[in-house]
């Protein structure tokens, strides 16, 4: 494991924010941290990044570089009155990284930002700021990247671009990435493994598809003549539109149902899993 935190606990006054949390991530892996607002995600990340001191527990990072970890907490905080390159220049110089124009431009290009823009970053969109934040986090080539709610506030195009960037950093550049979100779908699309945190405790962890699959108890199916299906009558279902129905069915049974529907001449035009949030965030028995 390139980074691991074990038995991490943190309280603010009488409020216990983290309870004996264990988390780990290896190179080229993306670990998701799922939790509702106030679950303890940001506190855990601040501890991993050294911004907060845990009351107890240990963090181990095997990275030997100048900068072991790079990260963004909550939102990319930048010097709004400086341009993107000037921001990079300031952050590069204070940590002894190269601040040559060529190198800075390379960092900007890596995250898909224009190198020609000279205006202050206050004019940038949230997505562009996120990208610049990642470029700053990537200075001095850390082996671990910790991103707290990177998708929040982004438009759909921004989400896709950022998702591709994160996947590229992990799969092609070998970074260990821990990413938090309260949007299950985003975690499902980017992470290999997932930790589910609730009330400061990790309540579930494992392969993302399995964990989310266990909490997928319904599917929304759309197809022409779906109402005519006899197979569908075997499952508890509710028609929400003329061609769309919500079926009480787990992820493991879906392929069989699809096959049987096809046997009736009914071909699905869409199949959307519905995740039961209560099931997902409930403590494992």
């Amino acid at each position: 494991m390139i980074i691991s935190g074990s038995r991490l606990s943190k309280s603010f006054g009488h409020s216990i924010v983290l309870k004996e949390v264990n988390i780990e991530c290896k190179a080229a892996e993306i670990c998701g941290l799922l939790g509702v607002n106030g679950a303890g995600k940001t506190t855990l990340f601040k501890i991993l990044l050294g911004l907060l001191t845990p009351d107890s527990g240990e963090i181990h990072c095997s990275s030997k570089g100048v900068k072991a970890l790079g990260g963004i907490i909550e939102k990319p905080a930048l010097y709004e009155y400086l341009s993107a390159r000037e921001n990079l220049k300031v952050f590069a110089r204070i940590q002894g990284a190269s601040s040559d124009k060529k190198d800075l431009d390379q960092y900007l290009e890596n995250v898909g930002l224009e190198t020609e823009r000279k205006d202050a970053v206050r004019n940038y969109s949230t997505g562009m700021k996120q990208r610049l934040g990642i470029a700053i986090a990537m200075l001095n080539n850390p082996e671990v990247l910790i991103l707290d709610e990177p998708f929040s506030g982004l438009d759909p195009m921004g989400i896709v671009q950022l998702r591709d960037l994160i996947l590229d950093l992990a799969k092609n550049k070998g970074l260990a990435i821990i990413i938090s979100s309260h949007i299950v779908e985003e975690i499902r699309l980017v992470s290999d493994r997932v930790y589910v945190i609730n009330n400061g405790q990790i309540v579930k962890s494992g392969v993302t598809a399995e964990i989310i699959g266990q909490a997928t108890l319904q599917h929304y199916l759309c197809a022409e003549h779906l109402k005519a299906s006899t197979v569908l009558k075997e499952y508890q279902h509710t028609f929400l539109t003329e061609t769309g129905a919500l079926i009480e069915i787990g992820i493991e049974e879906m392929p069989r149902l699809m096959k049987r529907l096809a046997g009736e001449g009914i071909y699905l035009t869409s199949c959307t899993p519905r995740i039961d949030m209560y099931q997902l965030f409930r403590t494992a028995q």
Binding site: V66, K67, G71, I72, I73, A77, F91, R93, I94, I136
Partner: protein, 277 residues
Amino acid sequence: MIKALLWAEAYKLMKQSRTWYAIAAVFVLELIVLISAYYRGAAVIDILLNNLKESFYFEGDLLNGNLLIYLILNSLWFNFPLILMLVISGMITDEYKDGTLQTVMLQPVQKKWFILSKYIVATVFTVLMVLVLALSAFLFSYLIFGKSDLIVFIGKLNFFNAVEAETRLILAFLNGCISMIFFSLASLTFGVIFRDTLKTWIVSVLFLIVSNLLLKFDFKWELINKLFYAKLNDTWQYFFQYEIPWNIILRNNLLLVGYIVGFSAIGVVIFNKKDIG
């Protein structure tokens, strides 16, 4: 690392529009005094000096350059630190407000060097601001009003010829630097403690007002009158006594430097101990 941090702090400070507004504000205050004097003559000077009449006595050519510099020196001694405190405290409170402090601390940067660089850059900026103020005061005053003898009243009437007046005014500005550094760095420490911009401004302004009030306050114990920080901030006035009391000036300045180091040390220690998140 400290070299790069000093560069970064200076770069950020000079890139902020607020810094330039502050410099402009100093010039505006300075120019208002000079332009008013130029166009409306002695009458305006009398109005401007209304509050200072107990300390001043003017005779002969009222509108000479040295008198104007002395006037600027007096009238800016409250406004100037006020402007400085607003700019300097922003060096840290803005970082808290915008979250950039968090971004900096996510880089391999040591907290103590980071905050120390802010104190050093704040000191250099303050000295430069006083120099800019002094240079412009001399330049505009001599250009518009010429150079002549200076007459001041500090307990008694003191007359200085033009050359000596110039030397004493330069020394007063240089000495005033220490006071200005004290207020600047105190505001930075307040920023470290309170984090919030508005709270820091209120506390800094209150501190400045209270310090000015206490300056005139005569304490029962002579030791307090000698050692208390507020009593050390008008040391520059000693340069307008006929015989310059160098011992008192040296003692006061050493004490004030001690206060500066103390205030800065408090800021550095608190910053180092507090979590950023």
